[in-house]
């Protein structure tokens, strides 16, 4: 039986968060460069030029790309043959967040009592951890530091099943229009369709782990992704909300079957600063 030490998990989580906050995935950078070429508005192009220069500077000076180094979201895929030793898995992940945020000079943004006193926890814990048991003898750890501005623009709704494609396009475009520059466009829009309320949002969140602009393998869903993207880019919001032709870089949709009474739709909004990193132990 393969064994994994908690100490190893802590070290890995600490490294992944530091890396993720300083170096954006290459697919995000490529997509931003393409947006700069295509954007029609001068102010929009200027914002994209700032963004691209900022990404280079972050790597050069080892400073986080964005000051909002986010809520520490962690996805764990635990192989069913794996034995975890030397401690408690959740505690090991949180220790990794604590160390990574301290050692990487990342901002600590979590507050206790969010409805009242709002006292900073001081070390960016607790992490938001999603675990799943999968076949095999490995542990896959994926981290996604999630900024507050875009997360605040996330929504869930249940549409009448009769609304179908058109209802989804209208709902998502309406939401992006309402959020304007708040979510730091150009966006990556994660959409979950189906399942139950909590699962729909998790589908939306997980879709953000895809390579930017990589379409769903299903032909109909791919078509819907393109339609939503076209509708959103027709809004005119543009980079940073200054007006322009590129409001979103990509739309990612994940689908699960739904109850006969329901068409649940969740949107998990991602700013251009789409950070994620993974490791396989």
């Amino acid at each position: 039986m393969p064994t994994i030490q908690c100490r190893k998990i802590t070290d890995t989580v600490a490294d992944l968060f530091q890396d993720a906050c300083i170096h954006l995935p290459p697919d995000v950078v490529t997509s931003l460069k393409r947006a700069r070429r295509m954007e029609k508005s001068p102010l929009g192009r200027q914002a994209l030029a700032n963004i691209l220069e900022n990404i280079s500077l972050a790597g050069e000076h080892r400073v986080p790309v964005c000051q909002d180094t986010g809520t520490a979201v962690v996805f764990l895929q635990v192989g069913q043959e794996v034995r975890i030793t030397g401690g408690d898995l959740v505690a090991a992940v949180n220790e990794g967040v604590r160390r990574g945020y301290e050692a990487g000079y990342l901002r600590k943004s979590m507050v206790n009592r969010p409805f009242s006193a709002r006292i900073n926890t001081g070390d960016n814990t607790p992490a938001v951890i999603h675990s799943e048991i999968v076949p095999g003898g490995n542990l896959r750890i994926c981290v996604l530091p999630k900024g507050g501005g875009a997360e605040n623009c996330s929504r869930f709704t249940v549409l009448p099943p009769s609304h179908g494609h058109e209802g989804i396009i209208e709902y998502v475009a309406g939401l992006v229009d309402e959020c304007g520059g708040n979510a730091c466009p150009p966006l990556i829009i994660g959409i979950g369709i189906g399942g139950t309320a909590e699962q729909t949002m998790l589908l939306a969140k997980k879709s953000l782990l895809r390579s930017t602009g990589e379409h769903n393998a299903d032909r109909e869903i791919k078509g819907l992704e393109k339609q939503v993207l076209a509708a959103v880019n027709g809004l005119g919001i543009g980079p940073m909300g200054y007006g322009g032709s590129i409001t979103a870089l990509a739309v990612h949709i994940e689908v699960f079957p739904a109850h006969i009474a329901s068409l649940p739709v969740a949107v998990n909004m991602q700013c251009w600063c789409s950070r994620h990193r993974e490791a396989l132990l």
Partner: protein
């Protein structure tokens, strides 16, 4: 056109205005929504928790530990600086969360705010009445913006950590005018110019 900034030369295809901080009444009058500006001088930082402190104090008639008259507030909560660096990453945060606290600060003479995202109708109306402007900096461009920071000094509410009030000395800090004092709103006019639906 090429503009030489403290960060090197940047190619832009628009005119850039240089503005000294604290901003003068004349400069405020000259600003129009959609203008690109480079700010040089002194400003204060504050975000959610520090705004609540300021508004609570003022509501109780308690004087603030700093003067807001004529000042600029930059909505930011920077990352900690690495040794040898002046500042960590320091980009703007969403302005609308400060809407609730903004009218009372405008009454104290606040003249300029820097954030991202649109403001409430009430705040826009009060900005017009008090002759104040709202600017945006590029969201997420925390490293680029931080390079304009020449000096950081703690001012108040130190216990709030990243949310404390700091005084920044900036040189050529790049921003875009969103709401001017003539009723212009870039979030409205910019969107209308490129809208296809």
């Amino acid at each position: 056109m090429l503009v030489l900034t403290a960060q090197g030369s940047v190619a832009v295809d628009m005119k850039i205005k240089r503005i000294a901080l604290p901003v003068s009444a004349k400069d405020i009058r000259s600003l129009r929504c959609g203008d690109s500006v480079l700010l040089t001088g002194s400003l204060l930082t504050a975000r959610d928790a520090s705004h609540k402190r300021m508004a609570d104090a003022l509501a109780k008639g308690v004087e603030l530990p700093f003067d807001l008259d004529g000042q600029t507030i930059y909505y930011t909560g920077p990352t900690p600086a690495r040794p040898g660096q002046i500042a960590g990453s320091a980009g703007p945060t969403t302005g609308s969360r400060m809407d609730k606290y903004t009218p009372i600060l405008l009454e104290q003479g606040l003249k300029c705010m820097i954030g991202k995202g649109r403001r409430s109708a009430e705040v826009r109306k009060k900005m017009l009445r008090h002759g104040a402007v709202y600017l945006a900096a590029t969201g997420g461009a925390g490293v680029l913006l931080s390079r304009s920071i020449r000096r950081i000094d703690p001012v108040a509410y130190h216990e709030l950590g990243t949310e404390a009030v700091f005084r920044l000395e900036v040189a050529d800090f790049p921003a875009v005018v969103i709401n001017d004092i003539h009723g212009g709103d870039l979030y409205e006019s910019g969107k209308a110019a490129y809208r296809k639906i």
